[in-house]
Symmetry: C2
Subunit: 272 residues, 2 copies
């Protein structure tokens, strides 16, 4: 079956168009679509090239393409309107009502292009990313008092990607500490975690899923065996319950969902 | 001045509502707003609590709040509609036209909640994140043939956060290699980069901005001095030009912009 084409077109990164488009299309069967993003379409010339490319892509398709667009410049929008497509234009739909509500003209309506300024979040994001790297995997623990959250759990339950996502997306200082067999044998949290217990949050995962993930890393190892995974998961969950550490099961969650649930359950304030 | 409240409300992570909302509000003066997200509002009970909280927050404000919402459940939407607010409901605006275009009912209209399934991107994202960590900072180079891109540049020009963003957001294997004074003295790319030159992409940065970033890390050091930064930046740019390595200046870009421009200029395909 020829898939129906979905295009994301933006004069910026395309992230807004992609985010909204994917979010809407999860309400349908997503397998029926193919996707392509055209970012930085900020001149009439680039718009003309894009139109040409879309016509080529869409040539084989049986149905007209879907377009999610976030173009500010009207001349660019004009070029794109020559396409035979179903278009959702996020900006034109909402900017005029917003202008009315705020009783302010938008940059769009005063003909100004997006102002490119140094990202005010840049510094905090970089700092948070390096914090996550420095305090990944429990190797160093000396700055735990500067952590907003310390994620704990068995190896490969999603701690590191979640910490990095929290850093990049929200500027949050997130450390992580893997609970090892030694910690589990002691049947109590390591001292360093006990002394920062208000920042500790647990991740757990179904043993079958954990075994599959570990198997990718070390095939046929004891580390990846279902027996070992099951034992570690059971012991960690018992330990976290015993220590009254809040935790969530990550098995069915995306990294975005794990990260936002950690924020929601801990009440940690996003930095931006 | 009391800032006007902006609320993002979602039955999921809230990321779509935040992304669209922030994107629209960059078209106005953003300093006039304060922001709060309510994620996972998926029951009438939680909606009632949210309404209560929003009324408290908005109590002091002089103007009614703005709400960006991506709620699928109609009973939840109903509760929220009791608020006196300017509401942009991303789903209700676009789902019906999409249903008509696709000639398919959405999960929304057939009364199904969002289907929670294991994220198909999870594995590739985890793999890519660990690739970025393993091949960060030039310490290891043995798997450069598995890299989709190898970012080069001076220390603290944005390589590491960009690699991690490429991994998390797009599942791309991104390594990075810092060009040191030793490399610069040789006036040519290190052999390991020459043998993977088709994957090498450069980041550069204004010396003043670099000095400010380095100063945060090592105040008053030679490393952070404007003279040192200027010299390194000049030499790296000359080296990249000489070697015909494409590069961009990151000074005024967010990490999202750096990452999407790298993709756009190299033509690397996103994994999702």
């Amino acid at each position: 079956m020829v898939k129906r084409c979905v295009f994301f077109i933006s004069d910026g990164t395309g992230i807004t168009a992609e985010t909204l488009g994917h979010s809407l299309l999860t309400q349908f069967n997503r397998d029926q679509f193919s996707y392509k993003t055209f970012p930085y379409i900020d001149t009439v010339e680039k718009a003309q090239q894009t139109v040409k490319q879309i016509k080529q892509y869409a040539y084989q398709a049986e149905q007209r393409p879907l377009i999610f667009s976030t173009i500010v410049n009207e001349a660019v929008t004009q070029e794109l309107s020559s396409l035979d497509a179903f278009t959702i234009d996020c900006f034109s739909a909402f900017l005029t009502p917003l202008e009315q509500e705020l009783q302010q003209p938008s940059n769009h309506s005063i003909g100004q292009n997006r102002v490119i300024a140094a990202d005010p979040r840049y510094h905090q994001r970089i700092t948070a990313v390096h914090f996550a790297l420095d305090f990944d995997d429990g190797a160093k623990t000396y700055a735990y008092d500067q952590a907003d959250v310390i994620l704990i759990g068995v190896s490969r339950c999603g701690k590191t990607p979640t910490c990095l996502y929290l850093a990049l997306q929200y500027g949050i200082n997130a450390a992580n500490y893997p609970l090892t067999e030694e910690d589990l044998d002691n049947q109590r949290l390591p001292g360093i975690l006990l002394s920062h217990k208000d920042r500790v949050f647990g991740l757990t995962i179904d043993a079958e899923r954990l075994a599959a993930i570990r198997h990718e890393r070390r095939p046929e190892s004891r580390y990846a065996s279902i027996k070992q995974c099951r034992q570690e998961v059971n012991e960690v969950e018992a330990l976290m319950q015993e220590a009254h550490v809040p935790f969530i099961n990550t098995t069915r969650f995306s990294i975005e969902e794990i990260a936002t649930r950690v924020l929601s359950m801990t009440g940690i304030q996003r930095q931006f």
